[in-house]
Every structure is written in C-alpha cells, then in structure tokens.
Symmetry: C2
Subunit: 461 residues, 2 copies
C-alpha cells in the first residue's frame, strides 16, 4: 500500500526532518503498524522527531492537511491504542529518549517520552530512588507509553500508578501548541490540572514531549508471604483486612482457583486451594520484619489454608516463582487469550470471581483470574484455541459479558491497559451520555480538528 499523504505535507515534513527521520518506505511503515493487541493498520509515514519543536511543527503541518497524528512509544499497548487505523503520520519518540535531569534533592526526574521505563530505573538506582510504575513490560515499554495509558503494575497498591507519579508535563496539543503544566513540586493549587488530565488520554489530547516524574526512595529490603485460602471470598476478606491496617503492602496479588489448578498441573509446588494471595512488605532492617508481621497477622483469618513467609532473597524468589510461572502456564491451556484488566471495588472481588466462574462453565472455556487485588484490578484471561471456530466465537461472546459483569458490580473497564479501540465501544456503558459529552468537549478543546489518534478512547458519535 502506497502512502497517500498530500504531496505538500510529505515535502514539508521531509524537509523538516530529513531522510533519516521521515520514513515513507513500506517496510518502516509496516514496522510501525501494530502494537501488542496484534491489531494492525499501515501509517502513511513515520516521523522520528528529535525535539519538541519538531513535534509541534509536525502537528501543525498535519493539522493544516487534516492528517491524523498517532504518537508511538514502543508499541506495547494491548488495546490498539498505537495502531494508526485512520492512516496518517506515526510520531515515534524513539529518538527523544534522553533522561534530561535527575534531581535527587527534589525527588524527581525530567525525561523525554522515549526513555524506557527499565532504563530510567537503572539510572535512578545510584541515587537510591525509583519510579513506581512497574508494568510487566518495563524493560521494553517507554515512559511516554506509560503516561499514555496510565500504566500500573503490582507496586501501584502502595506507590500508585503512573498518574499518581507525574508532577508535570510539557506537551503538544492538537493545535501544535506547546503547553507546560505542573513542575518539580508535589503540591499545586495553581490553575487547572492539565497534568493528570493528559495522563491516560492515549495521545488523543496532546503528545507528551517531556515529563517531570515523582520518584520514591528505594526501600532497602523486601520480604513476602504467600497465603492460600479456601475460596475467593476468604481471600477477598483477607485483602480487605490487609488494606485496612496501617502497613500498606508493597504488593498484593491474587490468583483464583483455576490459576492455582493450572500451576499444579504444570508442576508448581503449591497446595490445592481456592485462592492465593502474594503479599509483599518493603522497608529497612528495622521496619521490615514488623511490617511483615503486621501483614501476616492481617492475612490470617477464616478460610486460610496455608501461609508461607519468606524473609530473604531466595525464599522470596521461590514465593514469586508461582506468579512468574503463570503466564507461561497459561499458554499450555490454549494458545488464544483475551486478557482484560478490569477494576472492581475491592469488596466486590468475590462477586467478580464467582461471576467469572459461572461464565467459564457456561462458555465451556477456561477463564483464569489473577492480578492486583489491593487495587481491585484483576486480569481476566479467557483462554481459547483460535483455530477452533466455536471456541473463538464463545470467547468473543464471553468478553462483553465480563464487561457487563464488572459494570454491574460498580467497577470500570480498565485499570492500567487503557481503552484504545479494544474497549472503546464499552465506554457508552461505563459512562452516561453527559459524562461522555464532557469528555468529547475536552477532546475538542485541546484537539479541535480531531487529528490526534482519531478513533481511540471515545466511541464515534
């Protein structure tokens, strides 16, 4: 498929960026066509800007021709958020990957969007600091992508997700204007909070060109415990107890009965149980053990089947081995997986698990539930064989019922993956018409011609 950009736009951006940074060949366009959703659509060109002024110039030029602009980090989104369905220009931040400044005294770092999450963590290590968002893709996803979808991870239960750990942004709006909001401070009552609005907007309101990130002191040590329960209700009651005492766990992960059964079938050394919690404490030599004891006390209660505590590195590794074994084990059930990161109030976790079990029985498909229990953010994995038309159809039919279940429990569609196109059409169920209209009005305020990542987040009118 040939590029269909207006010739004057092509010429202007080729002149602005030079042949190394303005790519219109099919191969490079194809390399920027998909994300981890495995959805795919060819852009007309790929731009690799080196600074914010180039980003602003690209947006202004595209706006003049009403050509879509799709920001791209490392393409690890699972929702199609980075796929240019409407064609246009993919703006890759691969060359805006500088850590501009680490300010230990102000506990913040200033970065360009193309920095890899894992690279930032490495750079922060000598300062005894870290940036809390820890998606499982940390080694290959960018900060810009984390900002776009409000990425989380297990540590969010104590330290917050991306939105909670951003102090300021510089961004280019759909009008090609560079705006600056927030800054290297942690308290702000000065004007409208554009910073948190842009986080999670998936490149539909503005393109982030610089971020000031809130850092946390790296705890000196971690220790953990693994608790098995009779059923999901007993585990959920333990989650509530764990979250109600002052020692906030550093991680609090859940696995349902089908996840445990799967691990047992694959040879993991875990007891037969209805649910499992993995709980972690962090701290220093003085505080770690009392913290772990407080978590162990809270984990104990009705329905507890077994409790293992790991105070040092290798025992802790063994504890987490079961969690790490889960994703590979999932692939042994069936090659196809629909994985949604729904959110319910913590008190409704048992209802979610029960509802999903019923759905699994009805659809005759394995559905495995695990994830970030302390945030009520669970990953629901519908397993199927894509070469079996009936299973594929049943899996696809089960997905909307998962969303409907979550909404009926007072929850929401996504906790850390975002909406993209995958959940877009459910937005009308998650929000009422006036709220969606307010979101659309904000979209029009910052991107009046609708050129930024069109078709994402908000369903078409």
């Amino acid at each position: 498929m040939a590029s269909t950009l207006p010739a004057p736009l092509d010429a202007a951006l080729a002149a602005l960026l030079g042949p190394d940074s303005w790519l219109t060949g099919e191969q490079m366009r194809r390399a920027h066509a998909e994300d981890d959703s495995r959805l795919s659509a060819m852009p007309d060109a790929v731009a690799l800007p080196r600074d914010r002024e180039q980003v602003a110039a690209i947006v202004r030029a595209c706006r003049a021709h009403r050509v879509p602009v799709v920001a791209r980090g490392a393409g690890t989104a699972t929702t199609g958020a980075a796929v240019p369905f409407a064609g246009g220009v993919v703006v890759s931040f691969a060359r805006m990957d500088r850590i501009v400044e680490i300010r230990p005294g102000d506990r913040c770092a200033v970065v360009e969007p193309g920095v890899l999450n894992g690279d930032l963590q490495q750079a922060l290590q000598p300062h005894g600091l870290f940036w809390p968002p820890d998606p499982s893709s940390a080694d290959r996803c960018t900060i810009g992508g984390n900002l776009a979808c409000n990425a989380g991870g297990p540590r969010a239960v104590k330290y917050g997700a991306t939105r909670d750990n951003v102090l300021g942004l510089v961004a280019v709006t759909g009008e090609g204007e560079i705006i600056r909001c927030g800054g290297p401070w942690t308290k702000d009552a000065t004007g409208y909070d554009l910073t948190h609005l842009l986080v999670g907007s998936e490149g539909t309101l503005a393109l982030v060109v610089e971020a000031t990130l809130k850092l946390a002191p790296r705890p000196k040590a971690q220790a953990g415990l693994r608790a098995f329960y009779r059923d999901a209700a007993a585990a959920a009651a333990a989650v509530a107890r764990l979250m109600a005492q002052p020692q906030v766990p550093a991680m609090l992960e859940f696995m349902d009965a089908s996840a445990i059964a799967l691990l047992r079938r694959n040879g993991s050394d875990v007891p037969d149980a209805g649910a499992m919690l993995l709980v972690e404490a962090d701290g220093d030599d003085d505080t770690l053990l009392p913290a772990l004891q407080a978590l162990a006390d809270a984990a104990e209660g009705d329905g507890l089947v077994a409790l293992d505590v790991a105070v040092d590195g290798s025992a802790r590794d063994r504890l987490w081995a079961a969690r790490r074994a889960l994703s590979p084990a999932l692939r042994t059930i069936a090659p196809g997986k629909i994985n949604e990161d729904v959110v319910v109030p913590v008190s409704r976790i048992p209802d979610l698990v029960a509802g999903v079990e019923a759905l699994s029985a009805e659809a005759s498909l394995p559905i495995v539930v695990f994830g970030h229990a302390g945030n009520g953010n669970l990953h629901v994995n519908i397993m199927y064989r894509p070469d079996d038309a009936s299973e594929t159809a049943r899996a696809q039919a089960a997905l909307p019922r998962v969303f409907a279940l979550v909404l009926s429990l007072g929850g929401t569609l996504s906790g850390e993956h975002g909406i993209g196109v995958a959940k877009r059409d459910w937005m009308e169920r998650a929000f009422d018409a006036p709220t969606l209209a307010a979101m659309r009005a904000i979209k029009a305020a910052l991107d009046p011609d609708g050129i930024l990542n069109p078709g994402k987040v908000l369903p078409p009118l």
Copy 2:
C-alpha cells in the same frame, strides 16, 4: 442593594426551592457575600439546594438568563474564590451535608460537598480510617471547599493533598448536566480523568455534588522531633535528606529565623537559631521508634544546633506548641498580614528564604516564612499596620516581588489556597500563553457560557 435578578428566574427558582431555600433578603445575601479574604460582593440571591437535581436545575435556569452561579462551602477560602463579584446566585451546600456511605472494605467514603472536614474525620474514627487533607480550618471548612481549592495541610507530605485523595466525583457542569467520573476504586485507565481536573478548579468548571474520597488507615501512634539549624540552608539540606530516605515523614514543617525570633520574644522555650524543622513519624508500636530514629538520623548533619525528640503524647504536644504559638504571635507584630502559600522545588527553599530576607530588609517590614517544607509549600507572611499608609503600600508592593521571586526559582503561585482573584493576575506570569489558552478552552468546554464563578482563576482576556 436590591437584587437585580431577572424576574422569571427569581420566580422559577423560588418555585423550585421554596422560601426556606431561596433567599433574596439583604441580610442573608450579605451573610454569603465574603470569604476569609475579607473581600466582599453582594450576590443577588442565595440558593440552598437539597440534592443534585436541584443543583442542576439551578444551573440550567441561571444559564438560560446568563446569570452567574457561585458555589459556596463554608467561605473559608483566603483568595476571594467564594466572593460573587459579578453578582448572581450563590449556591450554598449547607444543606447537602450528608455522609452518604463509609465503605471500610473499599477504604473510601461517599460524601456530599457540605460535610465539614472535621465531621468526616470524626465519623471515620470508629473505622480506624481518616481522610488525609488537614487544612488548619478543618473544623469549619467543607469537603466541597477542600475540593475546590485542592486544600492541603501538614500531612500532605506523606499522604498527599485533596487531589491525591479523591477517587470519584459527581458534578454539575456549566450546562447543568450531571456528570460522573471515577468511583470506589484506586486505579483507573478508563477515559479522560475529569476527577482530578475538577479538583482545584474553584467552582469554575463544575459544581461538585458528591465525592468518593480515598481514606487512609489511621496510624496507631505518632512521635516527633524538633531540630534547630544554623541557617535556612542547613535546614533545607536536612529536608532533602529527610525526603530522600524511605521513611517518609508524616509531617515536615519549617520555620525561618524571623519566626523563631518572634517565638522567643513571645516567651516560647526555643533556642536562638536560624531555622527550625518539626518532623513527625507515624506508625504502630513496632514501627514507630525505628521510623523516628530514621528521621532523627536524617535530621542530623552540618549546621544542626539542637535536636529534641518526643516519643509520647505530652512531650509531643510541647514540641508542637511552638508551631501553634506562631499564628497568635504573628498578630503581636502587626495586625495586618498578607499570607501567601507559594511553592518552590524543595532544593530552592534556601534561595526563597534568602530572597524573602532581602525583600524584608528592603521594605523595612517583617516577613515571616514557615510551612510545609517537605512539599516546598511555604507560607510567606508580610506583616504591616493597616493604619499606616506607608507600611500598607510597602506590603502591597512587596507581594508581587514575592511571586516574582518564586517564579524565578522555578516554583508556582499556590500549593493549597488556590488562585481566586487574589493571585489571578499572576497566572499570566506563571503560565505561558498557549497553556493559559488550553485552560480557557477547557473552561469553555465545560462551561460554555462562562456562568460558573466568573472572573476566578483565569485572568480576563
């Protein structure tokens, strides 16, 4: 001054609300004319809605007549944010003061905006929970007011300010539409983050009619320490050390040399020093003392003059007595006070203090600096005698120089009081034109006719 509302609007709202809840008499209008800024302007009427539908109906009716709507909690704002300078209808939330639901298992509470901060804290106590924002006016300010100006307080250094402790909102836009954003969960990647956008918008984007607040487990015990330093630079270096270690202080308050000198003149038992820090740890029996030790270790360093530790209640009370004595002591210097809650990066606190000292000498006026050092959020108090025309003029001339100093240090105008009208004209210095334009576009998106609290936050075009 008589009410100048259009007669059909007056009649419609009188019919909607009834005589008890639609007040047009001069006395009641005067009672809703001012806030703690001591600025004052008469509204044309005061509405006391009982539910969100009445709020929506009021806004729709006022919109039809292009009449301003000014939301009001308890009128404790210091910025004129609640003063109806353009007349119109003050919507008081005095009768929407229900605590709708406390959900300990989900660590959240659902409240109407008229609930007093202090009343909520009392209601949460039996559950072992609290809501972190702790402005000094907690006993008389409302949650709605806290939301409007993103109120903070000393605890924000560990627990965050209002914006960090809100999970969801129901609000009425300038079109009179009821929108719902967020909910009883702590992780959300579903659509645009209207929740955090509305916090701190001072009633200019929407009127909050219900809030879901994030609660924290109440720590079992507190302990503190008081550290005196040679000068502000030594204290600021200690602040950086305190914030860089994993034990986040529960409070971290600063006082400059003039505050200490003032306390000494007023008989407080404090040594002669250039700066003071009050640091608090919280935790339980096991964790409190190690935490306090970690803070004491961090407080020690070059320039430390004296360090007192208080591990129990009465000793701790004595420690904080100096802080509590400060506001009354301020009144002994001069009856007039311009108090601004500026923010600088923590690393620039010494520069702020030095700059203010120079300004104080130049203006021949006492300027006392104290406040929330861990957030870089310091209260700069310019003291003067209002009956002295020259002092008054010098105080008023010093204020813009404080703002200019703060901005030159890479800081911002307000950390917890908001903008109102008091700092509004400085917004053009704090933000560049494209960023202000983006804020104006968002204002227009949610309040297309500009009827919500007109003239606040954003300077007139």
